[in-house]
Symmetry: C2
Subunit: 689 residues, 2 copies
């Protein structure tokens, strides 16, 4: 095993070295003019304000959770033996801290890369693309590097895979704040800036007079950039954790080794994919992003095949499961693209429906959003079935190991996925900066092209992230069962062999679990609304009280910081009740129905969570691109009635795709981990058995 850890840690070192090289490369590029640097500094300061405040609240939250862990997890304090509880607390804190560092690094490089990308766009698409992409890649490498580092260290130093659940829970806590909190923040800023600027005053997007404009630009970073990074950090750690918990249950070092080996090879494939990403002058940035994803995918499959051929105890069946997982992930990404790309018929149909008014934009978007769920659900179902059937002949328990390895396989290229995803907000910002810095028509056009590629790729990465989360939470269900059985054996009770839906406790859990993602996402969306109301009030106050602001008098600046402050506090305030509903309902179901009800609860949560997450993300992307399609001059173009209707669709879709939809992933993971961590307590104390 120490060989495995050595290899993992060495790979992490290589990834960090490469990330450092890319970071320094980005920093060496030319920054923009004075105006750009000024705005860029404001964005950087705003992002730091958000992160500081977020991490501040998170620190308080993490300390409370850490205290609860010491008292209750994995065993309540009155049962003695604190050493496990202390180890779990350390693992938990490590999970939050490593994810936070990865997020911080990502934001740091992104706020450096945006101005340089804008400047690069003056030279053409090639240098601008490389700056944006490499900036994103630093985030990708940092996230995957830190997740592999953390998992290796926790297992090496604390030596128990169930302690890893604590580490994973730490990562999930952070993801909940970063993804859901960031999601509320970004949409609050976006909606308020649009409502007060575009609608009330008729000033353009990104107009520096608008007090919310910096918050809006910060939002792209913290919601899409850092949030997505934390989300995938969380999924990646959860997938590895689930696989390792199940591997430990099976015994045999090869099973554990395989998890690390696959994760390390995925990182190596991502490094090579990133290093070879290229674009020609006047090349197509979407194609460049996608082709590096395919390179990484192909490399991973070949490398793992080599490893399977070389190492003793590595099974071709497991390789098959992991390959199927990865391929299905890619397929889900492609089908997502079909529903959200404006060169495909669906987006155009929704744009066409806008002619009949906004109600039809909304109805057709919801309808196609519902339909878009099917291919991904089939993909996840088939990959789980194939992985299971492939690995079941290896022996008892191997089937669930196969599913876990399919999830690990799907997430293997996550470094590449995050790079592509983090590229988006960088070039989006660059576009805003090019406009604010008056870099001229041609530069804005280049930046626009880069931005549009970012949006297209974003849909694919979101589909991928949800698919990966789907497989991961299935294996977390397996991990939960292992944990619950350990507790049942310790209590001298019969173990659980499965969750039979005909059992009323399981069924009870399923129905309530299925309602939670709906309630959770609704609370986040209502949170955006409430928070936006607060922010609109603040913007009105500034326009009223700061003289000369509305008129754009020289030297008069709005108080950007105050808007950021309000959006941040509000976002976290709205997030906490939603998070508590999810966690408390898990506890209520557990205390009523015990471990069986929790199994049902997790299943219901997974099923309805996947359904809603896919629906909301895809419908949101669909509306966004329909609006852009109309704005490109189709169906009447900008200013037409169809355009107004398309804007309504986009406004509905924004919190769908950027706040609620992708946060459901994290909600499912959090709930699954709470269930696993508390399984011993539910075994001991429940109303029914």
């Amino acid at each position: 095993m120490s060989f495995v850890y050595a290899v993992s840690l060495f790979t992490v070192l290589v990834a960090f070295a490469f990330a450092a090289y890319l970071f320094l490369w980005v920093r060496r590029q030319k920054e923009g003019n004075a105006r750009i640097m000024e705005v860029s500094a404001l964005i950087k300061a705003g992002a730091n304000t958000f992160m500081r405040r977020e991490y501040g609240i998170l620190a308080v939250f993490a300390c409370i959770v850490a205290a609860l862990i010491v008292l209750f997890l994995p065993k309540p304090f009155w049962q003695g033996d604190f050493s496990q509880n202390l180890a779990m607390m350390v693992a938990y804190l490590a999970g939050t801290i490593l994810s936070a560092i990865a997020g911080k690094i990502g934001i740091l490089v992104a706020t450096s890369a945006n101005a340089r990308t804008a400047e690069g766009a003056r030279q053409g698409i090639k240098p601008a693309f490389l700056i944006g992409f490499r900036g994103g890649a630093v985030m990708g490498l940092a996230v995957v590097g830190f997740s592999l580092l953390g998992v290796s260290l926790v297992l090496m130093l604390l030596g128990d895979s169930s302690i890893l659940l604590g580490f994973s829970f730490g990562a999930s806590s952070l993801a909940l704040f970063a993804k859901a909190g960031g999601g509320i923040f970004t949409k609050t800023a976006d909606v308020s800036a649009d409502l007060t600027g575009k609608v009330e005053l008729g000033i353009p997007e990104d107009d520096p007079r608008n007090p919310a404009v910096i918050a809006d630009n910060v939002g792209d970073k913290v919601g899409d950039g850092a949030g997505m990074g934390a989300d995938l950090f969380d999924s990646n750690v959860a997938a590895m954790t689930a696989a390792l918990v199940i591997a430990e249950g099976l015994g045999g070092a090869a099973n554990t080794m395989m998890v690390f080996c696959y994760a390390a090879l995925g990182l190596i494939a991502s490094i090579i994919g990133i290093a070879t990403a290229r674009i020609n002058q006047n090349g197509n940035p979407t194609r460049a992003l996608n082709s590096s994803t395919y390179v990484t995918t192909g490399l991973f499959i070949v490398l793992t095949a080599l490893a399977t051929a070389i190492f003793q105890g590595f099974s071709w069946r497991v390789w098959g499961a992991s390959t199927v997982g990865l391929l299905v992930g890619v397929i889900i990404g492609i089908t997502t693209d079909y529903f959200t790309d404006d060169s495909k018929p669906i987006v155009r149909r929704v744009a066409h429906a806008s002619h009949s008014g906004s109600a039809f934009t909304v109805l057709s978007g919801i309808s196609y959003g519902f339909i878009s769920v099917l291919p991904a659900m089939i993909g996840i179902a088939v990959s789980a079935l194939v992985a299971y059937k492939l690995c079941a002949p290896m022996g008892d328990g191997y089937a669930m190991y196969g599913i876990a390895m399919a999830a690990v396989g799907m997430l293997s290229i996550v470094g590449m996925i995050i790079s592509n995803d983090a590229y988006g907000p960088i070039v989006d910002n660059a576009r805003g900066l090019a406009e604010m810095g008056n870099l001229g028509e041609e530069t804005i056009r280049v930046a626009d092209e880069l931005d549009s590629a970012g949006n297209t790729v974003k849909a694919v990465t979101k589909g991928f992230a949800i698919g990966a989360a789907g497989l991961t939470v299935i294996s977390l269900l397996g991990a939960y069962m292992s944990e619950a059985n350990a507790a049942l054996i310790a209590a001298g009770r019969e173990i659980i062999t499965g969750f039979d839906v005909m059992n009323p406790l399981v069924f009870f859990g399923i129905l309530i679990g299925a309602a939670i993602p709906a309630v959770f996402s609704a609370m986040l969306m209502l949170g955006v609304d409430k928070n936006a109301q607060r922010m609109v009030e603040e913007i009105h106050r500034q326009f009223r009280e700061i003289r000369g602001l509305k008129e754009g008098k020289e030297g008069v600046q709005p108080d950007y910081g105050r808007c950021i402050h309000i959006a941040t506090s509000g976002a976290l305030m709205e997030l906490i009740p939603a998070g508590l509903v999810a966690i408390l309902s898990t506890m209520v179901v557990g205390f009523i129905g015990g471990p069986l009800a929790i199994g049902g609860f997790l299943l219901g949560n997974i099923v309805s969570g996947l359904l809603l997450a896919l629906f909301m993300s895809n419908a949101g992307g669909l509306w966004d691109n329909s609006k852009k399609y109309v704005e490109a001059g189709n169906e009447g173009g900008k200013g037409s009635e169809a355009h107004k209707a398309a804007v309504v669709g986009d406004t509905v879709g924004d919190p769908f795709k950027d706040t609620a939809g992708p946060s459901i992933n994290t909600q499912i993971t959090v709930v699954s981990l709470v269930a696993s961590l508390m399984s011993a307590i539910f075994v001991a104390y429940s109303l029914f058995r």
Copy 2:
């Protein structure tokens, strides 16, 4: 047993006699003026056109299905023994025919009662209420009478509860056409009439120049009236069937007797509730409708308690399960009311959100719609758990019997529920007739008040219908397991003891089953859109080609029939692919994964179906009432920007609540019955086991 049948049939006779009395009473009331009679005759003719065409297509469909049944169900023809197959075919056809007759009677009385209600409204609220309510009651009594008659006769004459599945499938087939087809019809007509009339020409709702106006009025009848009746006929039959299949599995005449006894007592309670419904001059119609529901509920509980005390072999535990089911049904109705009644805060919040634009109306409606799912899901979960726990001590298999009896209990008052529900479209029509017949301000005000009560009660009955369907389909899952096990025993294979979600076949089924209601409802909504486009074209053609129509020249009439024809054909054309997707996906999953995958498929279907049905029905009701709240002069009143936004919400909500949401119930039942009927085939032929 013959005593039980005698009692059931006698109760049915009483119900029919009472229905006939009410029908004659309605017919004795005064009809309206010439103009009203003319329009009323047009509506009646239109409804008949729709029904004739619907039943025509249904007859073809039913013959194809009947042929397939003879060939394949319950056993494929190459296994010999046709007698069972013939019995099932007869039962199937009986199911479609009895439901069709009940629907026809309902439409007949409703189209007679509407004009008389309008005329009655001239005398005040008391006579108008009684005419509307008694008209609805004829439908309620016919539906429940025919369902009890059918179930009794099938069991008496064909003597096998699994043949009842065929009868139930017949009822479901009809419900699919009536509810989903009617739902598409009604919204097609509504949307097209509004778009061309109110929006394009600026003429009022119900203006006789609009070619779609009769179709719109017919739509209320066929979608809300006959559709809801067929839906509850289906649920009622399915609940009794599931209980009887499970009772037969348990053995013991008392279990079977209890099902019939409860159903008969429910019918008696409904008759008394209907007979005692009263309102004072200037009384509150909503209160009158609700109080007769409470009378029926109380009576049923008392009557079943008496029966339990008197008859040997009747268990108090089962009585408890049934009572819990009924009470939870009422509670679900009340919580639905909380989310959709304009005197409660939620509707007002959504109305208030309309100030910020239609995107916010939509977002807040979706959010509260999601949240509204929780209490109903908890209610169903708790009633299933309590029923199970109450009855489990009675012996093996009794737990599922308890759940089935909770569903029977919940549906016991269905006669009363349908009466309330069928009241809605009658008074809605009466309101339109009062306007078209120029009956004056005061009459319209009275009709408005009656109509508003109908809308409020409709939300409650919809919640109730979905809750009842929820419990019913759980017991259908139990019935499916019985059937699958009979087939497995016959094949000499191991029986199924449950559906373990950790089994990959079950899990595979769950994920795909969960996606189906989303796809099904999306296809229906897109169907409305496509069909409305066809109809709008036809309306444009008529305005273009019929001279003097637009100007309202004396004696010039549009071609109402052609619009009805287009809406009908289109509705059925759009419905069939959606129905096929649901049925074929069941077959694909069954042939791939066998009986275990189908168990999972049904569970996924139930869970996501309940979630979406509750969400769509409640969100739709919420938007509808928000619009009405604004129109009543709040938040800026009619013509304000907030009103425009509220109208967008209502337009989105219309297909939600009248087409897709309530059709999902039927989709779940159809799929559950297809699964039960084909279980032997899936056992024999599947890729995996």
